[in-house]
Subunit: 318 residues, 3 copies
Amino acid sequence: MNKFLTVKDVSDIDRLILQALEYKTFPFKDRTLGHGKRIGLLFFNPSMRTRLSTQIAAKNLGMDPIVLNVGQEGWALEFADHAIMNGSTVEHIRDAAPVLGQYFDILCVRTFPKLLSCEEDEGEKVMNAFLKLSGVPIVSLESTTRHPLQSLTDLITIRENFHEKRKPKIVMTWAPHIKAIPHCVANSFAEWVIAEGNADFTIAQPKGYELSEKYTRGAKVVTDQASALEGADFVYVKNWSSYEQYGKILGDHPEWMLTEKSLEKAPHAKVMHCLPLRRNVELSDEILDGHRSLLTKQAANRVCAAQSVLAHILRTIG
Amino acid sequence: MNKFLTVKDVSDIDRLILQALEYKTFPFKDRTLGHGKRIGLLFFNPSMRTRLSTQIAAKNLGMDPIVLNVGQEGWALEFADHAIMNGSTVEHIRDAAPVLGQYFDILCVRTFPKLLSCEEDEGEKVMNAFLKLSGVPIVSLESTTRHPLQSLTDLITIRENFHEKRKPKIVMTWAPHIKAIPHCVANSFAEWVIAEGNADFTIAQPKGYELSEKYTRGAKVVTDQASALEGADFVYVKNWSSYEQYGKILGDHPEWMLTEKSLEKAPHAKVMHCLPLRRNVELSDEILDGHRSLLTKQAANRVCAAQSVLAHILRTIG
Amino acid sequence: MNKFLTVKDVSDIDRLILQALEYKTFPFKDRTLGHGKRIGLLFFNPSMRTRLSTQIAAKNLGMDPIVLNVGQEGWALEFADHAIMNGSTVEHIRDAAPVLGQYFDILCVRTFPKLLSCEEDEGEKVMNAFLKLSGVPIVSLESTTRHPLQSLTDLITIRENFHEKRKPKIVMTWAPHIKAIPHCVANSFAEWVIAEGNADFTIAQPKGYELSEKYTRGAKVVTDQASALEGADFVYVKNWSSYEQYGKILGDHPEWMLTEKSLEKAPHAKVMHCLPLRRNVELSDEILDGHRSLLTKQAANRVCAAQSVLAHILRTIG
C-alpha cells in the first residue's frame, strides 16, 4: 500500500483489521519497523483524536513524528495553477509539497472541505496536490470527501464487538446539528462497510439529506429512522449537511436525535460516533452514558487502526 | 502516588525532594523507567517553564511526551453536565477525557482560573473532570487553585540553598501587578511550606489581600511588609488578586515592590519568584540582577521536580 | 564552533560543507553524537523548512528537539533594559533566557526584523540577548539581519551542482514582491559567497535597492539585470526592500521577474531561491517548473546543512 486515501487503496481490508487487532494487543511488536523513517503530520485544520492517535501509532512503530500546523506555524499555501501570487498566500503547493516529500518518508495530511462548492470539495485539491507532487506515500487524516482512518477504526470496532455467526445489521443514521457539517465521515463509513461486504447496511436520513450515491451504492437508503433502527446491532450516528443542496442545512429535525426510546426495537444495538459530538443535540446523554455506547472503545481503536496502516506502508516502502 | 494535584497527594514530601535532587545530579539514572509509557501534556493556557521542564523530565525518564494545545489545536470543550451543546463548545469533557485516558498512561493538565467566581474556580472543574473521567493519573501543571509542581520546586530550591541547623525563616510577600492574578502559586506555596512543617513561615500582604485560610492556616499572616521581612532567609515574591473581594485589584501599593532597601534588615535573604514576572512592577532590577536572586536556579529545578513526580507515578502504575 | 549567527562564526566553511554532504549520504552516521543533549527551537515567527529541517537534523544526531512557539504558546517577552513592565509584555528576556539556557544545551532562535528602523534591526536584540544571557550556544534560524543556515545550504547546493574547474559565476538578482521583505537572506548569501571566496559574484538590483555594503563588499554590484545574468552558472533570486530608504518599497519593477527570456544569454544557468516564494511575482512558472530550477534540491539540503552545524557545535561542547 503506497497511499491511504480511500478504501480503494486497500487490497485486503480483512488483513488490515486483523493486523490492527494484533497491534492493539501487542503495540510494540514492530517497534523497530519504522526506524530511520521520517513521518510528517500536516494539519490544515484542528484535530484531537487523529492528531494524538497517529502520533502514538507512529511512535509504537519506532518512528518519531513531526507535527506541523500548516497555517499557524508555517505559511499560507496557494493551490491554484498559474496563480499570480500577489494576494494573501505566501507559498505555492507546487513548491512546498516536493520539499516536504524530501523531508519525510510518509506524509499524513488533514484538511476539511469548505462546503461551498461540491465540485471543489470533490476535487480534493489538497490531497491530490500532495499525491502528485510530494513523491512519497500520503495518508489521509481526513480530507474534503473522506476519513478513511476513522472508517477502518469503525470496522475494527464492529468486528471486536460482534460475535454472532450471521452478518451484523448496521444502521448509519443522520443526527441533528447546529452547523453545516462535512459528509466525509459518513461517505467513508458507507464506502468501507459496503466494500467489506459483510453487513446488512442501511442508511437513514431525512429527505433531502441523502448522501452521494458515489459512496452509498449497495446500501439500503431510507428516510424513516424508526423502521431502519429495528433490530440494529450497530447504530452509527452522524450529522451531515445536504449533498443535493450542497453544504446546506435543510431543517433541524430534533426528533432524529437518538434516545433509548428510538432504540426500543433494537434491544441489543450498540451506538457509535466518531467524535467530537454535541451532546443532547446529536446524541442524548442517556445513550452516551448508557450501556450501549461504544464511543470510548471506538476512539481508542484509532491508535491500532493508524498503526496497521502505517505498518503496511512501511513494509511497502521497505 | 496516583495523582498530583495538591500536597495532600504526597505521602512523603521529603522523599520527593531528595529524589529530585538525585535526578538533578543524575538526570539519566532512570532513563528506561518510562519506556513504553505514554504521557500527554494538555495545555488550556500558555506556559513556558512548565511546558518545557515537564517535557524534559519525561524524556529523561524514557518517555516521549505528546503536547496538545487543547483550544488551538483540538476542540473547544464543554464541562457542564447535561449541557445542550448548541453553542460554541464542540466536544464534552465526558466524551474527551475517557478517550485521552485510553491514549495516555499519564495526563498532565494546565488550566487557569477565570477569577470571576470563587466558587467556580475552587470547583476545579477541569482537573476534577479529568480525575473522574480519564481513568489515569493526573498531574497538575497548574490548576484554578494550585500549582504543585512549582511548590515542590520551591521547597527543593530552599533545601538546596539553606545550610543552617535551625529552621529557615521564609516570608511570602505580596507584590504589585497591573492585572488581576490568580492565587494558585501563593496558595500552593503556603500549603507546601506548612505541610513540610520545617520553617518559620510568614505571609505579608496589604489589608484586603489575605489568601484563603484553607491554604494559610498555620502561617503567620501580617499586613506589615517591613517587619515581616526582618531576618528573612527566603523572600518569596508574588502578586495575587484579592480573595475576599474575589479576583479584584484593591489598590496599586507600589511601595510593596521589593528593593534592596526593603531588605535592609534581612542581609542574608535570598529572593524567589516563580516567573514570569513584570520587572520594576513586581520586583526591581536591583534585586533581580543582584546577588540575592535565586530565580534562575529555581526555574531550573522545575525539571528535577517534575522528574521526581513522574518517576513516583511511574513506579505506582508499574 | 560555539555559536552560529554569521559566517564569521565559522572557521572552516569548506569543512562544514563537506561534512554536510557526508551527512546527506549517511544521515545516521553520528546517530548517538547528541545523546543526552537537549536542543530547544524557539520560534518568534513562522517557519516551515527551517522548523522541519532543523528538527530532522537534530533527530539524525540522536537529539530530541523541543519546539516552542514563543508568542503563541509561551509569554510575550520584553527586551528593553530597565523597562517598567506595566504594558503588554509578560516576561523579560533577562529572566527568560537564563532559564532556557538551563533547560537546553543548544538554543536555536528564529526572529524577523520589523523593518521600521535599520538601527533596531541591526541591533539584533533578540539574538544578542540570547547570546549574552543564556550561557549556551545559539544557532540562528534566521535573525533580523541574516539567515546563515540558508546560506550554508546555498553553498552546499552550488557545490553539488557545479563540476567545472573554473569558478562559478553566481548572480544574485533582486525580484519583485508585493510586500516589504527583510534583507536577511540576501545579506547572508552575499556574506557567505564572499567569505568562501570561490566565485565570480555579482549582485543586481534596481537603483535604490542596493544592500548594505557591510555584507556586499567584494561583490560586483550593478543595476542592469540583463548584462549581469550573461553567462551565469547560478542565479539566486530574491526580493528585498530598500536598505537606503530602510524597509521601503521603491517601485514594482515587474520586468525584474525572471523568465526564460531573461536567461537567453545564460543557457546553463541554474536558478535558486530560498522559499517561500510568490509564483509569477518573484519567479515565473516557466522557470520554476523548468529544467533550471534547483529549488527542491536546495530546500532538501537544509537538513544536511543544519546537521553539519549542530554536529560541529556538539563536538565543541563535548
